[in-house]
């Protein structure tokens, strides 16, 4: 039996949850349960009604309003102990990062996070995940009693391939086994930080700079390249963390998601947190001295070399045209 822990976003199924359903369906024909948590009587996303799963379970309790992590862990932990699935899959979302490691530790069962592929060999699940911020891939296996738990990297499975069916799966609303002692977190409503001044999502061309620039004083080189291309300047996380560029220039999972016609990544290694924010660009150019940098995996054009030589040469070439 496989359980997919699902999340909702704006009353819809989270795209990552749909990807996890597709992954579970492709992995095994076993019984598949989609699990949700929340307030008693809460709506179940309409999308769920057409999914080819055996059951939908919603663990419900007044204390699960807003799905506080400690309450959700206790509710899911007790229920998973009861149903004892072989595998628990969920999307590697920010919420999952808060909930699932604690759930695995509560159950005393192994958890493999941020998987990009999975397969079954001789009855054992084999998980693929990336190491060293995407530079290498590892195949991993889990030992010991089930359930085993895994989170899946966003975009690694195709949510649109999830099998559908015409008759809706049975929905079971189950009272969650939690008490007020289990919920010690007090959560304020989510909010967006100070208004972003730069809307990179509207930019046609973006020159993005990463750690390879080494020093804030070198940023003028990137500004010249951006000017030569008529591009906006963006950055990977470390540049904004250092305060070299404002946070609203950040592209990636914690910044903006952009889809320009041209994205030039300069001195950016291509850690997955950055790549998720820019892989939709139409044309991707990577300039990096490390030939093994993951950015070259997704680039259309790559130049392996010292950015302090390549970028001035590129500015000159663009200005000559």
């Amino acid at each position: 039996m496989i359980v997919v822990l699902a999340e909702t976003r704006n009353a819809e199924l989270h795209p990552g949850s749909l990807e996890a359903i597709a992954a579970a369906q492709a992995l095994s024909p076993d019984r598949l349960i989609l699990a949700l948590t929340g307030m008693p009587g809460g709506t179940i996303p309409t999308d769920v009604g057409s999914l080819d799963v055996h059951d939908v379970v919603r663990l419900e309790h007044e204390l699960l309003a807003g799905n506080p992590t400690d309450g959700v862990v206790t509710a899911l932990g007790a229920w998973l102990n009861e149903v004892s699935p072989d595998l628990v899959l969920t999307a590697h979302t920010y919420a999952a990062r808060d909930i699932v490691p604690r759930l695995a530790a509560r159950l005393k069962r192994p958890l493999v996070t941020d998987c990009t592929a999975l397969r079954v060999t001789d009855g054992h699940a084999v998980f693929t995940r990336l190491l060293f911020q995407g530079k290498l891939a590892a195949e991993v296996t889990l030992d010991g009693p089930v359930p085993h738990l895994a989170t899946l990297q966003a975009g690694s499975f195709r949510g649109d391939t999830a099998r559908r069916r015409s008759d809706p799966p049975p929905i079971h609303r189950i009272p969650a086994a939690i008490s007020s002692d289990d919920v010690r977190h007090i959560a304020d409503p989510p909010f967006r930080d100070a208004q972003q001044e730069i809307d990179l999502t509207r930019a046609d061309r973006i020159v993005a700079v990463g750690r390879g620039i080494k020093d804030a004083s070198q940023l003028s080189l990137i500004q010249k390249l951006a000017a030569a291309l008529g591009a906006e300047i963006a950055a990977s996380r470390p540049i904004c963390d250092n305060g070299w560029l404002p946070m609203d220039r950040q592209v990636g999972s914690s910044g903006q998601t952009v889809t320009p016609a041209l994205y030039v990544a300069v001195g950016i290694s291509g850690a997955i947190q950055h790549v998720v924010g820019m892989k939709g660009a139409r044309t991707i150019v990577a300039i990096n001295k490390d030939p093994d940098a993951p950015i070259f995996e997704i680039a259309d054009y790559g130049i392996v070399g010292d950015l302090f030589e390549v970028v001035p040469a590129l500015i000159a070439a663009l200005e000559q045209r």
């Binding site: 920010y94 490691p101 996070t113 891939a137 296996t141 305060g243 914690s254 259309d300 130049i303």
Partner: protein, 256 residues
């Protein structure tokens, strides 16, 4: 207030990591080692909280002998004492719950009010240890933290959510927090700090033997997408080729 910071030594981001002959891990002799970046921010946050609220900062790391370097560095930056859980079984590092158990053994005795660590490591990138640690210690936790406020026996944190959203959470102390890079501006060790660190306590304890339940079967380079065209030649040649390719791409719409 006692603040414990769990830190990890990882290959530096500039290191070229190569697969070992057995195809099971990297050639560790090729890489230079550094303090995991998110852990550096966790340490900095601990030092700032100590400066505001008083108390003591203890740093803990599990790993082989080389790990002492990052503990010394943390002492030089201002931590008060260090504990090195000496673990010579590299295979156990592949299971984050084992690492959490090793750290929890030290922390259960330490009685820390606050446990900080980076949100994930730059090597394995599990993003599990800080959270599993909280469960093993039976204390509250929050992940991907961008702001920490302490008061009235509670901690209020600003947590990063997806898509540029944030949320404030309040929970009782003790608590474990996983810290996001960029929460503060890092300080570096001064010569005075380095000298002072020599007199600070660095205790070593043997790692408990815990069987891992997560194993790496093999490690391989990530396969290159066939669509990538690498441009050869001198920087000037490659740049000229690129400018020419871009001006022709998508019917000349990519660049003007």
């Amino acid at each position: 207030m006692l603040i414990a910071v769990c830190i990890k030594q990882v290959p530096s981001p500039e290191s070229r990591v190569r697969v070992n002959a057995a195809g099971t891990w990297i050639r560790e002799e090729d890489v230079s080692w550094t303090l995991n970046e998110p852990d550096a921010y966790a340490l900095e946050e601990a030092l700032r909280l100590k400066e505001t609220h008083g108390g003591e900062v203890i740093v803990i790391s599990a790993g082989p002998a080389r790990v002492a370097t990052v503990l010394r560095e943390a002492l030089a930056r201002g931590a008060d004492r260090a504990v090195h859980v000496v673990n010579d079984q590299p295979e156990s590092a592949a299971d984050p719950q084992v690492t959490a158990t090793m750290l929890a053994e030290v922390l259960a005795d330490a009685g820390a009010d606050l446990v900080l660590t980076g949100l994930q490591s730059d090597d394995y990138g599990f993003a599990q240890v800080g959270v599993a640690l909280a469960e093993q210690l039976g204390i509250s936790h929050a992940t991907i933290v961008m702001n920490v406020e302490i008061g009235d026996g509670r901690v209020r944190v600003k947590r990063e959510l997806e898509g540029g959203m944030f949320q404030w959470l309040t929970m009782p102390l003790p608590a474990a927090l996983t810290i996001q890079s960029g929460i503060n501006q890092l300080r570096y060790a001064t010569l005075r700090g380095i000298m002072a660190a020599k007199k600070k306590e660095l205790r070593t304890i043997p790692a408990p033997r815990v069987a891992p339940s997560q194993r790496i079967l093999n490690v391989s380079p990530v396969s290159r997408r066939t669509g990538t065209r690498l441009l050869d030649g001198t920087p000037a040649e490659a740049a000229a080729t690129l400018a020419s390719l871009l001006s022709q791409r998508d019917g000349g719409q990519v660049i003007k």
